[in-house]
C-alpha cells in the first residue's frame, strides 16, 4: 500500500507527461487550413496553368503544396505536433518553389491589385492561424484556455479589460495601413519582397501593441531612474543615431 502511494506521484507525473505529449484534439494546422487553402487558391493555384520555363516544376510544386496542407490538417490530431511542423514547412517550401520556378506567372500583367490584396490578406490570416497555440477539445467546449477541465472561465477570459481593445485596434489598424503600401512594384520579385517586409512589419506592430496592452496589467515595480534609463538606452540611442544620420544625409544631399 505504502509502495503504491509512494509510486502515485511518479504515476501522476507519467500521466501528465503523456497528456502533454498527446496530440491535441483541435490542432493549429487544422485551424489554419481554411485561410491556407484560400491563400493557396489566390496566389499559388494560378501556377497550375503555368507555361514556359520551369512550368512543370511550378505545377508539381503547386499541387504538392496543397496536398501537404490538407494532409497536415487531416492527420495532425492523430500524429501530433511533429507532423504539423513538417507539413507546415513542406507547404510553405512547396509554395516558394512554385513561385520561384515560374516567376513570369506572377507578373503584374496576370495579377491585378485586387488579387494581390486578397492574397496578402489570405497569407496574413494563415500566419495568424498557424501561429496560434493548439486548443484542447475540453477547452473549446468550456471556453477555457488554461488547461483546467472544469469550472467557469475566469472573468478576464470572458471579456477584454478596459482599454485593451483600443490597443488591439490600434495595432491592427497600423498593420493594415502598412499592407496597402507598395502594391505597384515594378517586378514580381520586388513585389514579393515588399509583401514579405510589409507582412513582417505588420505582425511586429501587432505584437508590440499587445505588449503595450499587457504591460498595463503587470505590477509596476518602482525602478530607479538609472535602471529605467539603462533598459531603454540601447534602442533609443540607435533610434537617435539613425534619425541624426538621416537628417545629416538629407542636408548634405547624400541621398537622392
Amino acid at each position: 500500500m505504502t509502495t503504491r502511494m509512494q509510486r502515485a506521484p511518479s504515476v501522476f507525473a507519467r500521466e501528465t507527461a503523456r497528456e502533454a505529449d498527446r496530440p491535441q484534439a483541435v490542432g493549429a494546422l487544422r485551424h489554419a487550413s481554411i485561410p491556407g487553402v484560400y491563400a493557396w487558391a489566390v496566389t499559388v493555384a494560378p501556377l497550375l496553368g503555368a507555361r514556359g520555363d520551369g512550368a512543370f516544376i511550378a505545377r508539381v510544386a503547386a499541387g504538392a503544396s496543397l496536398a501537404f496542407l490538407l494532409a497536415g490538417a487531416a492527420f495532425e490530431p492523430r500524429l501530433g505536433p511533429r507532423l504539423r511542423f513538417a507539413c507546415l514547412w513542406a507547404f510553405l517550401v512547396a509554395c516558394a518553389v512554385a513561385w520561384g520556378a515560374s516567376p513570369a506567372s506572377l507578373s503584374p500583367a496576370r495579377f491585378d491589385a485586387v488579387r494581390e490584396v486578397a492574397g496578402m490578406l489570405g497569407w496574413g490570416l494563415f500566419a495568424f492561424a498557424a501561429a496560434a497555440p493548439p486548443l484542447r477539445r475540453s477547452a473549446v467546449v468550456s471556453g477555457e484556455s488554461s488547461g483546467e477541465s472544469s469550472g467557469a472561465p475566469l472573468p478576464s477570459h470572458r471579456r477584454l479589460a478596459r482599454g485593451d481593445g483600443l490597443y488591439a485596434g490600434f495595432g491592427i489598424a497600423l498593420a493594415l495601413s502598412i499592407q496597402f503600401v507598395g502594391l505597384r512594384a515594378a517586378t514580381p520579385e520586388r513585389a514579393l519582397l515588399v509583401r514579405f517586409v510589409a507582412l513582417a512589419a505588420g505582425l511586429a506592430a501587432i505584437g508590440a501593441s499587445q505588449e503595450l496592452a499587457l504591460a498595463r496589467h503587470t505590477v509596476r515595480v518602482a525602478r530607479p531612474p538609472s535602471a529605467r534609463f539603462r533598459s531603454v538606452f540601447a534602442p533609443l540611442a540607435v533610434l537617435l543615431i539613425l534619425l541624426l544620420a538621416g537628417m545629416l544625409a538629407d542636408e548634405s544631399g547624400l541621398v537622392r
Binding site: 490600434f170 495595432g171 497600423l174 495601413s177 502598412i178 503600401v181 507598395g182 502594391l183 505597384r184 512594384a185 515594378a186 520586388r190 513585389a191 519582397l193 515588399v194 517586409v197 510589409a198 512589419a201 505588420g202 511586429a204 506592430a205 508590440a208 501593441s209 505588449e211 503595450l212 504591460a215 498595463r216 503587470t218 505590477v219 509596476r220 515595480v221 535602471a227 539603462r230 533598459s231 531603454v232 538606452f233 534602442p235 533609443l236 540607435v238 533610434l239 539613425l242 534619425l243 538621416g246 541621398v255 537622392r256
Partner: protein, 58 residues
C-alpha cells in the same frame, strides 16, 4: 495612462510610419532609403516595448 504609456504609443505610431515609408521606398527600388526607414521602424518598435516592459534589465 501614464506618461511612459503615451511615449510608448507615440513610438509605436512612429514605427508604423517608418515601416510605411520603408515599404514605399522598397517598392520604388530605393533600397538605401528602405533600409534606413525599416531600421528606424525596428529601433522605434524596440524602444516602445522596452519602455513599458516592467522587468526589462540593462
Amino acid at each position: 495612462m501614464r506618461l511612459l504609456d503615451w511615449l510608448a504609443a507615440a513610438l509605436l505610431l512612429g514605427s508604423g510610419a517608418a515601416f510605411v515609408w520603408g515599404a514605399g521606398a522598397l517598392s520604388r527600388a530605393e533600397d538605401l532609403q528602405a533600409i534606413y526607414w525599416l531600421g528606424v521602424g525596428i529601433a522605434s518598435l524596440r524602444a516602445a516595448v522596452q519602455l513599458v516592459r516592467p522587468g526589462a534589465g540593462a
